[in-house]
């Protein structure tokens, strides 16, 4: 199975490394050369230097026969555009897009783009943590 990870920062590089460990054939794309060092000294997967908005870069990274595309650059709008290009132009069935803004994540999710919103996830986790504090004193025996 081939995976393309566009944006190789903290999130993208971790996803690339984990998928690689799980046996995927991974190619990472980033516009900064330093991003490659995030993948460690023993990276066996692919790495393409360039911007994910560039069709030629996407082709070079093998988007045409990728089984999964993860879009996780540091720009929400960039991610949303690249995600739609992967889905609509290259007909990728599994496209996962990181969008930090919950409102845009929701709008594009409704339009059929698989957006993941770390902000919403963090809000839920934090709220759960606060609620757990509320429960505990009540549960404690008087």
């Amino acid at each position: 199975m081939k995976a393309l990870v566009i944006g190789c920062g903290r999130v993208g590089s971790s996803i690339a490394l984990q998928l690689d460990r799980e046996g995927w054939d991974v190619t990472a794309v980033d516009e900064k050369e330093e991003a490659l060092s995030r993948l460690g000294d023993h990276w066996n997967g692919g790495f393409v230097l360039g911007h994910g908005m560039d069709i030629e870069v996407l082709r070079q990274a093998g988007i045409e026969d990728a089984d999964a595309v993860v879009v996780a650059t540091d720009g929400d709008n960039t991610n949303i555009v690249i995600g739609q290009v992967a889905q609509q132009r290259f007909d990728n069935q599994c496209v996962v897009v990181r969008v930090l803004d919950p409102a845009r994540a929701e709008f594009y999710r409704r339009r059929g783009l698989r957006t993941i919103c770390p902000t919403s996830v963090a809000i839920d986790v934090l709220l759960d943590a606060v609620r757990a504090c509320e429960i505990r004193p009540a549960e404690a025996p008087a």
């Binding site: 908005m53 720009g75 960039t78 555009v81 845009r104 709008f107």
Partner: protein, 221 residues
Amino acid sequence: MYILVAGGGKVGANFARVLLQDGKREVTLIEQRRDRFERLEHEFEHQVLLGDATEIYVLERAGIARPPEVVAALTGDDEDNLIISQLAREKYGVPKVIARVNDPRNQAHFDLLGISPTVSATRGLMALIEHEVPEHDLVHLLELRKENLEIVEVMIDQGAPAAGKRVEKLDLPEGSRLISITRNGHSEIAVGATELQPGDQVLAILQPGKEDELRRVLLKT
């Protein structure tokens, strides 16, 4: 008419200024950089808003839900312009959306996502340069994207296959028509009986992709 302009750089600010000139339009300009915003505020006062125009709450504060008759996405960032255009059209039903393309390589993304019309300074300049200083025998003057047609200009050379022929005798490719002939500074509409002469400048309308066939009929020996 209410027009929302996203991006208060040179393009957006000048566009807003021109729109406001005759006092018949209502305009809101959105700019996200505080230094720019403060400068614009002196001139545009309450008509400029500080914020990221790709944020839904900013667009709503600017009145996108009314909705405006026109939204112009004119920021210096193509991704932002794409998102603003999609939100305006698809979330708020704005009838007319115009987007600026900064990097002409991104035009394909605007086309893919159905964002039209687009304006591109680079594309405009290239067309102008081609027209003024033709490097090719066939110059693109105007693209009618929605209609899937384009208008081109060709110069009939001495010895060109079309020279000395009447328009009705030309075996023009399907999906193409000659519009006009300009000779010695005078232009006339091309009709069947119009005879082409060397030195004529001919305007033609055709479907994109028919250029080579047209070239063969008019220019190549």
